[in-house]
Amino acid sequence: MTAGRQPVGPPPAPAIHHLETVMGTVVTIDVYTSDGPAATDLARQLTTAQAILQRADAVFSTWQPNSPISRLRRGEITSAQAPAEVSEVLGQCAIARELSGGWFDPWAMPGGLDPTGYVKGWAAQKALGAFRASGICGAIVNAAGDIASLGGLAPGQPFRIGIADPFSPRRLADVVYLTDAIATSGTYERGHHLIDPHTGRPTARAASASVTGPDLGLADALATALAVAGAPGLDLIEALDGYEALIIAIDGSRRWTEHFPFAPAR
């Protein structure tokens, strides 16, 4: 059933396949190795990645009334009094707001400041950074469909990632070669309303928007922005070095930036 350039046989299985319950969802961590680094190294790095995710949840959970972000939202503390990563994330959110032309704006959410749309990707990207052992040829941190990665299945064999079909959640709309990160945002996401920062109302001008690029936090923010802005937002992405986007419109038609990394169908 494979054709063309793929080596014969099933793709390599990951040396680590771990599911972490965090941030109200399941984060999948897959690590692929070539010669097999010392198992203790991998285990230690996995522990670090888990801790990074759990720490992000503890600081940024808007569901936990005593989390620093909740206290900040209620005005009980200032961002200077909050843990250092709060300032870091809010700084990055301000950049994302700027780069997205205001279509992503955690300060314009109906319930007040809510950086959740940035935090999940940011945390997954940070967790990915834990994997540095020499024998690792690739790693994936998949935060409920927002995916940070490095390397590939093997040298010269990039990861292939499906994009969910917004009109049929059990099907794939496309497959991409992933070199770093991909985030997809759409109206079909469960429990997730897309808010137009300009009006404060739930709005979506695309069925789904996917953004690839070096950083999952920013890709996540931009995907959210594009799902709200629709196809006109593509120009913003085209202007950003290293970022590409695919929009599936409400009528099912597609628009994408020039170098969106489509993989050949197989």
Binding site: M1, T2, Q6, P10, P11, A13, H17, L19, E20, T21, G24, T25, V26, T28, D30, I140, N142, A144, G145, D146, I147, L153, F159, R160, I161, G162, I163, A164, P166, S168, P169, R170, R171, L172, V175, V176, L178, I182, A183, T184, S185, G186, Y188, E189, R190, S208, S210, R266
Partner: protein, 168 residues
């Protein structure tokens, strides 16, 4: 060996012709006849479009899904996989096979030990099924962007249930 199962399931799901809707806790897998597999297979599975019971004894030769999954001729058979650990607790998967086709996949039992998240978990069971079905359509992908949940425990239990039924 999970890969093998996924490939097998992918072959079977390729028969999927009508976009069946998910019922509660149920993944209506394959229904209707496969047009693409052709080979003049006798029409069966008139219960298309839902998870309805397939014709009782449709032991006629079916077109094989790309050689990855095969089954003994026979009617409708159901098996439940072993309870396996997943991230929230323990679950087991049941699968119903009609001839060479999977007609139903569901979660037979789920026990998260009464964690406060239990209600959330129940809600997660269905998207989990959706995710697994989607991954299964392409054995050669390492993830899905825009999807929600995944579980190896689900795959392990499903694989065991399929083996019980003579799929491999």
């Amino acid at each position: 060996m999970i890969t093998a199962t996924v490939a097998g399931l992918a072959g079977v799901l390729a028969f999927h012709t009508s976009p069946a809707r998910l019922g509660a806790g149920v993944l209506p897998g394959v229904s209707g006849t496969s047009a693409s597999a052709g080979s003049g297979g006798s029409p069966q599975g008139q219960g298309a479009g839902g998870s309805g019971s397939p014709p009782p004894s449709s032991a006629t030769a079916h077109a094989r899904p790309k050689g990855t999954a095969h089954a003994r001729p026979g009617g409708t058979r159901t098996a439940t996989g072993p309870a396996v650990n997943y991230n929230y607790g323990v679950l087991s998967v049941s699968v119903t096979v009609s001839g060479s086709k999977i007609s139903h996949v569901g979660i037979a039992s789920i026990d998260d030990g009464g964690l406060p998240r239990s209600q959330l978990i129940d809600q997660q069971a269905i998207p989990l099924l959706e995710q697994e079905a989607m991954q299964a359509q392409s054995a050669n992908i390492q993830g899905v962007s825009g999807a929600s949940y995944t579980s190896t425990g689900f795959q392990q239990s499903l694989q065991a249930a399929l083996q019980t039924l003579g799929f491999k």
